[in-house]
Symmetry: C2
Subunit: 182 residues, 2 copies
DNA sequence: AGCATGCCTGACCGATCGGTCAGATGCCGA
DNA sequence: TCGGCATCTGACCGATCGGTCAGGCATGCT
């Protein structure tokens, strides 16, 4: 069965993403990916030079999305508008990013501090500042990141609560924590 | 070089713990562990039946600690005392547990819902209730867990802030979030 | 028709993995 | 001194891994 190259490329990427998220990078063989796609292992290596290349392209996507959100925030004029944009986009993005790259933290600790992931160390700084409303309290800025970034992974691990219910409750709590002291 | 069995046993366990935390379970070979300990791979398999057995014994330890803390909280009389004990013990324990078992989440998702890890789903319930001071707001109880559990992993990943500085700031924030609405 | 190109397959390779096994070594009680 | 047990080693096994290679097959251009 022969398909057009771009579609096969994306099929492999999607299958690899599901497998990596489920069983980790080292726990996923090229044979597994090929079976999901419905082709041979050699076909996978025809579209990607390496197994590493699949991973690299897979993680580049959320990084680009996060960078795009960062630029969108940088483009708006008022801090209030920046906060709104950040609050809307960052939660979903942080949740998605952590869910899709959870296996990286276990198998490759320290990898997120290296390029191209190290971009994240600078981008979230502006994101969180926008989200926390230019708060001077570092605890508030840190907390916004910690809470948001921890939602996806912690939910369903310790807590038996669907993400749909957990997120608004936590968001309300984040907003409250970030309110200025009266 | 021959050592007494209990010491060798613990040496292997300690070496495996470091390796698993660094490179993951599948990323660590028995040869790696043996090299760290200073013995042969067969010697490792003399003290442990399986590679799985090493992992099982490694993760059983923090589970026991968490259960012990739970029993300590159940033993105290007043809710205020329970809250103090929980606040003291749970933060360190949650941080340690998440750091030492971070690789599990990436390589074996869903494992923490199965025995013997599923005990954690019941134990933290009382812990968090004690920590949150019997709050009726579910968001507060959830938040206490989420925040505490997210400290170890998120710190040093996105945030360039040592844990020693991060923890008191977050603890202050947790307490504030849990205060009753005035 | 003939040929080139893109896409894919099955067979194969070396390396590494977890695990087994027979036997060597050292220690300790009889 | 001798036998037995605990501890450990080197050699080895089958399985699986990532990756290579020669060739097959369809399509489309000349």
């Amino acid at each position: 069965m022969t398909r057009a190259a771009p579609e096969r490329h994306d099929d492999i990427l999607a299958a690899a993403g599901r497998r990596f998220a489920q069983s980790g990078y080292r726990g996923t063989s090229l044979q597994d990916i090929a079976a999901d796609v419905g082709c041979s292992k050699a076909a996978v290596l025809y579209h990607f030079t390496d197994k590493k290349a699949i991973l690299a392209e897979l993680v580049a996507r959320p990084i680009d999305q996060l960078r795009a959100l960062d630029e969108r925030i940088a483009a708006v004029s008022s801090p209030a508008e920046a906060q709104r944009v950040a609050a809307e986009g960052f939660v979903d993005l942080a949740v998605q990013f952590r869910r899709e790259t959870a296996f990286l933290r276990g198998e490759f600790p320290g990898l997120l501090q290296q390029p191209p992931f190290s971009h994240l160390q600078h981008i979230p700084d502006r994101l969180v500042r926008a989200f926390a409303g230019h708060s001077d309290r570092p605890a508030a800025r840190v907390a916004a990141l910690v809470i948001l970034a921890g939602i996806a992974e912690t939910c369903g691990e310790f807590i038996d609560l669907p993400e749909a219910e957990l997120r608004p409750a936590l968001l309300a709590l984040v907003r409250r924590a970030l309110e200025p002291v009266t």
